[in-house]
């Protein structure tokens, strides 16, 4: 089976290029290992547990985010690095933004309060706390193209996980922390939900956070931009949209 891998080595060439390899493995991670150990020692990628829980091997296959350890390949597949991050080399991208977005969004339990936790309470945060920080959702998110400071799907899902935790006494501070470059910047395109290997639904999580924000007294800042009195007032002969 032949697959193509998008490669980058800035010490040799500033441009990415596609390289074709013949492999016998069926699983993508095995194929990458096969190439690295038997054909081309320079192929560079991250991997860890090989069983879908460490989140280190996220790549794109034919433009869709996948964990290489859980992906079976087909003839002619094109493998490339995940998007939105600087490619360090081949399939390895810079992940340093992770710490920043998690910190900015207060994605942790701030003040513990003792509560009786029922199985239902635990169910409420179960799916969100299965996140493996693989960055697939981050890669698929179009908002980053226009706003690199967007907190993004995984950070917001993680915030909801702590907001919904009955043990958290200060969930308000998290709601405050995600107003700017946060819940309202999402376009609800749902790409993140489509690509999550853990079957998390960050889009719905973000919608939940929006309604919690409204309950906390915040409103959608985009609504303010849709003030129909300004600009559309034809009395002054000015119409920015040309009609």
């Amino acid at each position: 089976m032949k697959i193509k891998i998008e490669r980058l080595n800035t010490q040799k060439n500033p441009q990415q290029f596609k390289q074709e390899y013949e492999v016998s493995s069926q699983r993508l991670l095995d194929a990458l290992n096969e190439i690295k150990t038997t054909q081309d020692n320079t192929l560079t990628y991250r991997c860890g547990c090989g069983s879908g829980v460490c989140g280190s091997c996220a790549v794109q296959v034919n433009g869709v985010e996948r964990l290489s350890c859980k992906t079976y390949i087909n003839e002619g597949d094109v493998v490339s690095a995940i998007k939105r991050s600087e490619v360090i080399r081949d399939l390895v991208v810079n992940l340093e933004h992770q710490e920043k977005v998690l910190k900015t969004s207060h994605a942790y339990l701030e003040a513990y309060q003792e509560e009786t936790i029922t199985p239902q309470d635990e169910k409420l945060i179960d799916v969100q706390s299965n996140c493996i920080l693989c960055q697939s959702c981050y890669s698929s998110c179009p908002v980053y193209e226009v706003n690199p400071d967007f907190l993004g799907p995984y950070a917001l899902t993680r915030v909801l996980r702590y907001v919904n935790d009955k043990k958290e006494h200060q969930s308000r501070s998290k709601i405050d922390a995600i107003q700017s470059n946060g819940v309202w910047d999402c376009t609800l395109c749902g790409n993140c939900t489509m690509v999550c290997p853990q079957f998390i639904d960050p889009k719905t999580d973000i919608m939940n956070l929006r309604s919690k924000s409204v309950q906390a007294g915040y409103s959608d800042p985009n609504m303010n931009n849709m003030d129909f009195d300004s600009g559309f007032n034809t009395d002054f002969g000015f119409n920015p949209n040309g009609f």
């Binding site: 560079t44 460490c54 280190s56 493996i132």
Partner: protein, 531 residues
């Protein structure tokens, strides 16, 4: 100015860092990967803790001691088992979503070798949820991380650890990181069973090998735990909780052949025996039903579908044993101190006198958190009364810088990936579930041959940006160093005990009821036994 330098960012490292920070220390965590990429995420089954009145700490101590086959130290085990309840409470307060009973109590399940249901869990993602919660807390506490920096060596001056040298993966540059105290939390060395283990690719024993080179003593390196149930061929772990919840092990005829809840070594050998008769062994979970499976082992169901295309609620899952955990490591005392001053160790890289010849399921998460706490606290206290003992630009730094520069010019006459694959095979077959003197001596001579050839292996990737070829070459060097210790320790222990089973010495021998201690003396590896 760093008070406590933590090397490794899994459960043990993060626990150490959080406790050192709590003591007011200035902490830096240096990690070869990113914190959430570490091995801890793979722990599925649970963490042992006596938290109800139906169970007693003495039972936990007794079960652990029994599993250790006379090698565990009772006082240390007692202290760890007493620590378990406050640690569960601490984790609960940090936000770990433990599975609950209908009364709102933390639920517990029974694991192999345990006399009671004692394992606290979060479905079958226990390690993942603990690790991520610790990471979130570390970010909250503003703990500083230096990610993707691989430890090369421990800097020792005047017989004391004063820092480490580490290589920045992004640039291949060697850095010197000085600190008052150093904690190793770098994980185990199971990757010497390359291709036959359930571990992450990253667990190559870098810290353990560095400790040996720094003059610290290693211990019980021969004890390797084999997990009975890894998905056949893929070696993806299916947690012991599958058997704990009532799963059966059956042969080709569909018949059960071993008590599934016996200790791991006994069950694993029973499966290995069947495989040697060319029979396939299956895990049978069909009788549990889909609802139960979805409730208590959703990850197992997904893994079986992904890696074996098997629906466990309808079909049998083919399995094989695989190397899973190393009981040995850097020798530490009950305060997590190694034999080298100012150097601490915790987690799977340490031999903490609690697992002995075999680890009880559910005790590894407890160990990393309990000894992480001890290491962090003790190192922080020590740092308070310690001055910086050295100036920058140490001899170790100079020599490691030269070494890395030299690696780029080594000849590539021998392919080390080829040797690494072969190493896994001969270790699984000859230093695996069954061992004997002659086979292990053959492995030893092979390992020593590779050590001689190491400088002819080298790397073909000469780029300095994120050079995995270089990283894997250094890892292989560490594996070569440790594999020798494992084989020599296993050859020296002329008896069968726990996970170490010798066909030529099938009985437990009283005079070997001691820890093996390995160290370098005048460049020669020495192994002795100490009670």
């Amino acid at each position: 100015m760093i008070d406590v330098l933590v090397v490794g960012s899994g459960g043990a490292g993060l626990s150490a860092a959080l406790h050192a920070k709590k003591e007011g220390a200035n902490v830096l965590v240096v990690s070869k990967t990113y914190p959430t990429h570490s091995q801890t995420c793979q722990a599925q089954g649970g963490m042992n803790a006596v938290i109800t009145e139906q169970d007693r700490v003495e039972n936990h101590v007794h079960d652990t001691l029994k599993s250790s086959h006379g090698l565990g130290e009772e006082a240390t085990i007692q202290s760890m088992c007493e620590d378990a309840k406050p640690i569960i409470e601490w984790l609960d307060e940090l936000g770990v979503p433990f599975t609950r009973t209908s009364e709102g109590k933390i639920a517990q399940r029974k694991m192999g070798g345990a006399s009671h249901s004692r394992s606290c869990y979060s479905a079958d993602y226990t390690g993942l949820k603990i690790l991520h919660t610790l990471y979130d807390t570390a970010l909250k506490e503003n703990i500083e991380f230096l990610n993707e920096h691989m430890i090369l060596n421990i800097i020792v001056e005047n017989e004391q650890a004063v820092g480490i040298t580490a290589m920045d993966l992004k640039t291949s540059q060697v850095k010197e990181i000085l600190a008052k105290t150093v904690i190793l939390a770098t994980g185990g060395y199971i990757s010497i069973y390359n291709g036959f283990n359930t571990n992450s690719n990253a667990t190559t024993g870098d810290g353990v090998a560095a400790a040996l080179r720094a003059g610290a003593k290693l211990s019980n390196m021969e004890f390797i735990q084999f997990h009975p149930t890894a998905i056949k061929g893929a070696n993806v772990l299916i947690s012991e909780s599958a058997r704990g919840e009532g799963g059966y092990l059956v042969d080709d005829k569909g018949e059960r052949f071993v008590d599934e809840l016996k200790p791991r070594d006994v069950v694993a050998r029973a499966i290995y025996d069947k495989m040697h008769q060319d029979k396939t062994v299956y895990l049978d979970l069909r009788h549990l039903g889909l609802d139960k499976i979805n409730e208590v082992m959703p990850q197992e169901r997904r893994l079986a579908m992904q890696f074996a295309h098997v629906k466990i609620e309808e079909e049998l899952l083919p399995i094989n044993p695989a190397a899973h955990y190393c009981m040995g490591g850097v020798f530490i005392n009950d305060r997590s101190e190694t034999t080298r001053e100012n150097l601490y160790a915790c987690g799977e890289c340490a031999q903490s006198n609690v697992h002995g010849a075999n680890r009880l399921g559910g005790n590894s998460l407890l160990e990393i958190l309990s000894f992480g706490k001890k290491a962090g606290t003790e190192a922080a206290l020590k740092a308070r009364n310690t001055q910086y003992l050295t100036k920058e630009d140490t001899q170790q730094y100079q020599s490691d810088k030269n070494f890395i520069a030299q690696v780029f010019h080594l000849p590539n006459q021998i392919d080390f990936y080829d040797k690494k694959a072969f190493m896994g095979k001969i270790f699984f077959r000859n230093v695996g579930l069954y061992r004997n003197d002659i086979n292990m001596k053959a492995v030893l001579s092979q390992v020593r041959q590779w050590q001689k050839e190491f400088m002819f292996m080298g790397i073909t990737d000469k780029c300095t940006i994120y050079n995995r070829n270089l990283v894997e070459f250094i890892e292989f060097g560490n594996m070569l160093e440790l594999s020798e210790v494992v084989v020599i320790s296993a050859i020296s222990r002329c008896e069968s005990r726990g996970a170490h089973y010798r066909e030529d010495h099938p009985m437990e021998v009283e005079s070997y009821a001691k820890n093996s201690i390995a160290y370098r003396y005048d460049n020669t590896l020495a192994v002795e036994f100490k009670g």
